[in-house]
Structure formats: structure tokens, C-alpha cells
């Protein structure tokens, strides 16, 4: 398993896209922090960029990579290796390289400019988001052998979580404006990893006072230790569930 992992990581590094991704993140983060006059504002601007770019790159790069490695996977399958080992090594390889790229690109500037709980939260959130969207990429790649369909589905997933979901939330808010939906809203928002991450970071910033009543509910729940545990287990579920599903499919798949 370790050997396959090594192959995968070396292959990804050879590909140089991950290095470009790290560079892009580095340029964005350093410039964000030096443009804004306070580090908390820098964190705020960076938050938007991270929550938009990191999932996009993770999901699309991973999907394409899996499709491109189709032949390699088939070759490995002819060897006496368990399918689950192959699939997990691919997952870990992609995750590790993208996470390292994120840590080098965005993690270092965040630690330099904002070495507090907010910064730490940002980094943890970035790492988790990467893992989640790689997992979602595996989920979409295992569905079909048609490359275009698979990549299309991956992009749709990204669009859904980055854009459409918020639209849906807004729609629900308008529809049920007459009801006390604050608590329900908090529950619904927790269904999207991007929204959950965004609010978790916001709650660590001064701006949390602007979130008002709903923000207070959020803070009351997610600000406590149990809340933190719940949040991270929710995000953890987002990592595990799609991957498990893809693994289950992959094991039974007729290649």
C-alpha cells in the first residue's frame, strides 16, 4: 500500500499542477494579508478565496487524475492486491499532496499574519475542505466510466455547494420568513461543508457580533466544546461517507 502511495504522490508531483496550485494560494494569501490593514480583515478576505478555490481545485483535479490513472489502476488490479488498498492509496496520495500544497501555500502566511485560534481554525477548515472535496471527487468518478459525465458531475457538486446551496438557503428563508426558523436554519446550513466551515471561521472573528440572533444560536451551540466536536464530526462524515460509498462501488465494479 505504501508503495502505491509513493507512486501516486510522485506522479502528482511530476504533474506540477499541484505546485502551481500551492504557488497560486501563496500569491493570493500573501497579497491578501499585505493589502488589508488588519489581519482579521485579511483572514476574512482569504476565507472567501479559500472556500471558493480550494474545493474547486480539489474536486476537479482529483476527478481528472482518477480518470487518467484508469489504466494504471487496471494494471494494479491484475496484481494480487486488495481493491480497497489500491483505492485508499489513491485517495490518500491525492489528499496528502493537495493538503501539503494548501499548507505551504496558505498555511504559512496565515500562521505568520494571524497566529491565533482564528488562523488555526482557518487552516483546519482548509485541510478538511480539501479532504472532503477529494472524497467527493472519488464519489463522482466511480459513478461512470464516461470521463465527461464524471467531471461534469464533479463540477456540479462544486457549484452546488459553493453557490446553489446558499441560494437554496436564501429561498427557504424567504419562504418561511413568518416562522421561527432560526434553529432549523442552523441545522440546514450544517448540511453544506462549505457553509459550515465559513460560519465556524466567522464565529472566531469580531464580525460574529454582526450575525445577530441566528449567529447567537450558532455560537451557543457550535462555540461550546460539544458544538466543536459535533462540527468536526460532521465535517469528518463529509470526508468519510462519499469515500466509503465510492470504495463500496469500486469493490463491486466490473472493470
Amino acid at each position: 500500500m505504501l508503495r502505491i502511495l509513493k507512486y501516486v504522490i510522485r506522479d502528482i508531483l511530476n504533474n506540477k499542477i499541484v505546485i502551481a496550485y500551492a504557488l497560486l494560494l501563496a500569491v493570493l494569501s500573501w497579497s491578501m494579508f499585505s493589502l488589508e490593514d488588519s489581519s482579521s480583515k485579511g483572514v476574512l478576505s482569504l476565507l472567501n478565496i479559500i472556500l471558493l478555490n480550494v474545493p474547486l481545485v480539489s474536486v476537479i483535479f482529483s476527478t481528472i487524475y482518477i480518470y487518467n490513472s484508469g489504466e494504471f489502476i487496471e494494471l494494479l488490479l491484475s496484481q494480487p492486491i486488495k481493491r480497497s488498498k489500491i483505492w485508499s492509496s489513491f485517495y490518500l496520495g491525492l489528499c496528502i499532496s493537495l493538503i501539503v500544497a494548501f499548507l505551504i501555500g496558505a498555511g504559512i502566511p496565515i500562521l505568520v499574519y494571524s497566529p491565533d485560534s482564528t488562523g488555526l481554525m482557518m487552516i483546519v477548515v482548509g485541510v478538511l475542505i480539501t479532504a472532503i472535496f477529494v472524497s467527493l471527487a472519488f464519489f463522482s468518478a466511480v459513478f461512470t466510466r464516461d470521463k465527461a459525465k464524471g467531471i461534469g458531475f464533479a463540477i456540479m457538486l462544486w457549484l452546488f455547494f459553493a453557490l446553489l446551496f446558499d441560494g437554496l438557503v436564501l429561498f427557504l428563508l424567504f419562504q418561511f420568513a413568518d416562522y421561527p426558523i432560526e434553529k432549523a436554519m442552523v441545522g440546514i446550513t450544517a448540511l453544506s461543508p462549505i457553509d459550515l466551515s465559513r460560519i465556524m471561521v466567522l464565529l472566531h472573528l469580531d464580525v460574529s457580533a454582526m450575525l445577530g440572533y441566528t449567529g447567537a444560536i450558532f455560537k451557543e451551540f457550535f462555540g461550546t466544546l460539544t458544538g466543536m466536536i459535533v462540527t468536526f464530526s460532521l465535517l469528518g462524515l463529509w470526508v468519510l461517507l462519499p469515500f466509503w460509498f465510492s470504495l463500496w462501488r469500486f469493490k463491486k465494479m466490473d472493470l
Binding site: N48, L51, A162, L163, V169, R198, M210, T214
Partner: protein, 410 residues
């Protein structure tokens, strides 16, 4: 002429009767009460350094009480420390500490009852329930006092400088921290609050009600629980004040409720959750002010009319303006907005395209506060951009027709 000479002679003889009484351990009078009993109008009591525990000291004669090197007058958490019940009294240079705590009687560090021309100057007031309290008084001065308390609950503490039903007061250059309200005015007219610093008070830095024709100038209100509240008042003038760091769920730099015919000029609002909240007010002239780095710059309710907002700078606020309706009876022409993206072809420093300071998201949030959950979401940014191009939800006449291209020098 004869009369004049006679008058001056009489005056002179009266003046020459004024004595100076020394109070202290090694002085003729051991206690302040003793000296007060021996004194007459226009005498001077010099309080020498030491600790005085005399319960409630009542001043019923027009005397000057002057402390040397801040003698400590201790209320032992039981008594009202100094009660002034005569006009023309001066209280200066005392350190008044530990008044009693009672919500019915409101014991104070220094309380003035129905008097005129009382001056309270250069005192230090530590851990009193109410520090300085002026009740039904006229033409009094409270100057250069240092007032501090360290309460954690609103119920357990009174106000720093509390003025009730008075007029012609001068509150100058005091420093107040840690009380419930820093400065409290109720039914106080024709007064001035000048150059005070009110900081870290539990509720308001300045709390101001039913107090017409007052001015507050050059004060600093910082890190107060809920900022400054000005309510139910006419003819207020607010110049050169600074409202800073009033940050919290229900904190405002300045809350204007039912204010009319007032002027707000040259003030600075920085880092407040809401810079200014205006409700039910009319005929207010606001200019030359700077609103910077606030969550909301100004929240103005649709119940306001004739608010004239001009020549102000709006810099890096999350929302410059929010309102709760579509009715606009106010004027927003001629401000600088850092989010303005228009152009200026004829180079007269006035943008050629009108500016809509209301963002779509601020309108949505005002209708549905829980939409704030989507704050900083990418979708909201997109919606805001499209709304700027084709306004649909935001009121059309909420507009600055002459936005400035560059920040105004303030």
C-alpha cells in the same frame, strides 16, 4: 458714590470674616464634620492628607472644601459620602471611595441636592454606587474628575456622572470608567458636556433623555457596552466627538431615538457594530463626519424624515447603510463612499453616476435577520453585484446624486 463706598465696605467686611479651617490629625479640627459645624458661609475647609471615615458628610453652608494631596473620604460601603445641600459650594481635590449600595436611595460619592453654583473639581471617585449626582441643580460645574468603578453587573452599580432635572450644567474634562452609564442626563437643559472620556462602562458611555438644548463636544466614548444613547430630545449639538470600539450584539456608536432639530458634525465613528442607529428622528443635519470600519455605518429607519446627510466619509464599513422600509424622506447627497465605482468625466470631483448606498444583502438582512447566516458567502457577493446594475429590491430613491470621488478632508 457714598452708597458705593458703603457697599464695598460692607462687602469687604463680609469677605474678611471668611476664615480658613484646617482639618486633619495634627490640626485644630480632627474631623470634617467638626469643622463644618464650626464654619460659616464662605469659609474654606482645608482637608489635610489622611483617611476620613465619618459616615454621611452633609454640607449645608456655602463653604469651599479643598483637599490637599487627595485625602481619602471613605463611605465604608454603607453611607452616601458627601451630600451638598447648599448653593455656592466648592468640592475640590478629594478622593471619595466606597459609597453604600442601595437601589432605593441611590447613595453617591458626591450628591448635590437642589443647589446652585456648585463646583466639583479635581476629585478622584473610586468604587462608588453613583459617583457624582446632580439633582435639580442649576449652573453647576463638574470638572476634571477621575471616576472609576469595577462592577460586572448593571444592577449592582449606578452611573458615573448622573444629572437629573437640572439646567446650565458644565461637565468638562472628566474621565469615567466602569460604571453603568458613564454620563447620564435626564431632564437637563442648556448644558454642555465637553472633552470627557467615557470608557468601558457597562451600558452606555453617555445616556441622554428629555434633555433639550444641550451640546456635547470633543468627548471620547470608547468600548462601552452599548455605546451612546440620545433619546427624546430636541436641539442637541454634537461636535467633534469620537465613538470607538463599541462592539457587541446590541452595541451602537450612537443611538438616536426621537431626536429632532439637531446637528451632528465632525464626529468620528470607528469600529462599532453599528456606527449610528437613527429611529423616529427628524430634521437632523449630519455632516463632516467619518464612519470607518463599522459593521453597519448607519442604520436609518424609514420613520425618519428630513435627515440631511452630507459631506461624510464612509470608509471600509461592511454595510454603509441599512434601512427597514422603502420610504425615503431623507437626503444623502454629497458624501464619499469607498464602494462607489462610478466615473467623473469632467473632473469636478463629483461622480457622474448616482450611487445607491444600500446593498441588496443589507436589505435582505433587514427583512430577515437570519439571512445574516449567508454573510460573506460567494452567492451574496454575486447577488449584490447584479443588484448594483439592475436595482430591484432596494428602494430606488435611496440615492446619492452627487457622490464624491475622493474622501473629504475632515
Amino acid at each position: 458714590m457714598k452708597y458705593f463706598v458703603a457697599l464695598t465696605l460692607v462687602a469687604f467686611s463680609v469677605l474678611s470674616h471668611a476664615k480658613t479651617l484646617q482639618v486633619g490629625k495634627n490640626f485644630p479640627y480632627k474631623t470634617i464634620k467638626e469643622a463644618l459645624a464650626a464654619s460659616e458661609n464662605s469659609d474654606t475647609l482645608i482637608i489635610n492628607p489622611g483617611l476620613y471615615r465619618e459616615g454621611n458628610i452633609v454640607i449645608e453652608k456655602a463653604v469651599s472644601i479643598i483637599g490637599v494631596n487627595l485625602p481619602i473620604i471613605d463611605g465604608e460601603h454603607k453611607y452616601e459620602v458627601i451630600s451638598v445641600k447648599s448653593s455656592n459650594v466648592l468640592v475640590k481635590g478629594l478622593k471619595v471611595i466606597n459609597s453604600g449600595i442601595a437601589t432605593l436611595e441611590d447613595p453617591c460619592g458626591i450628591k448635590v441636592y437642589q443647589s446652585e453654583n456648585v463646583t466639583i473639581r479635581e476629585n478622584v471617585l473610586i468604587d462608588n454606587f453613583f459617583a457624582i449626582y446632580l439633582m435639580s441643580s442649576i449652573n453647576c460645574t463638574v470638572e476634571q474628575n477621575y471616576v472609576s468603578a469595577s462592577a460586572t453587573e448593571e444592577q449592582a452599580i449606578g452611573n458615573g456622572i448622573h444629572c437629573w432635572k437640572s439646567k446650565d450644567l458644565k461637565i468638562i474634562n472628566n474621565f469615567i470608567k466602569g460604571h453603568r452609564d458613564g454620563i447620564y442626563f435626564e431632564f437637563v437643559t442648556h448644558s454642555v458636556i465637553w472633552r470627557n472620556i467615557s470608557k468601558r462602562n457597562l451600558r452606555y458611555g453617555l445616556h441622554f433623555m428629555f434633555s433639550n438644548d444641550d451640546s456635547y463636544i470633543g468627548n471620547v466614548f470608547e468600548e462601552n457596552g452599548a455605546g451612546v444613547a440620545v433619546m427624546y430630545t430636541k436641539h442637541v449639538k454634537m461636535f467633534n466627538n469620537v465613538f470607538r470600539e463599541n462592539w457587541g450584539d446590541a452595541a451602537y456608536g450612537l443611538l438616536l431615538k426621537e431626536i429632532s432639530d439637531s446637528q451632528i458634525q465632525n464626529n468620528k465613528f470607528t469600529n462599532n457594530t453599528t456606527g449610528i442607529l437613527i429611529e423616529g428622528s427628524s430634521r437632523i443635519q449630519m455632516s463632516q463626519s467619518e464612519l470607518k470600519s463599522n459593521g453597519w455605518g448607519i442604520k436609518i429607519s424609514a420613520s425618519c424624515e428630513d435627515i440631511n446627510l452630507t459631506q461624510n466619509n464612509f470608509l471600509s464599513n461592511t454595510f454603509d447603510i441599512a434601512t427597514n422600509g422603502s420610504l425615503v424622506l431623507n437626503n444623502f447627497d454629497g458624501n464619499y463612499w469607498d464602494k462607489y465605482e462610478g466615473y467623473d468625466l469632467n473632473r469636478d470631483n463629483v461622480g457622474d453616476v448616482p450611487y445607491h448606498p444600500l446593498s441588496l444583502f443589507s436589505v435582505i438582512v433587514e427583512r430577515m435577520p437570519s439571512a445574516m447566516l449567508l454573510f460573506r458567502s460567494f452567492m451574496i457577493t454575486l447577488l449584490d453585484k447584479s443588484e448594483k446594475i439592475l436595482p430591484s429590491l432596494t428602494p430606488e430613491n435611496f440615492i446619492d446624486n452627487k457622490p464624491f470621488m475622493k474622501p473629504l478632508a475632515i
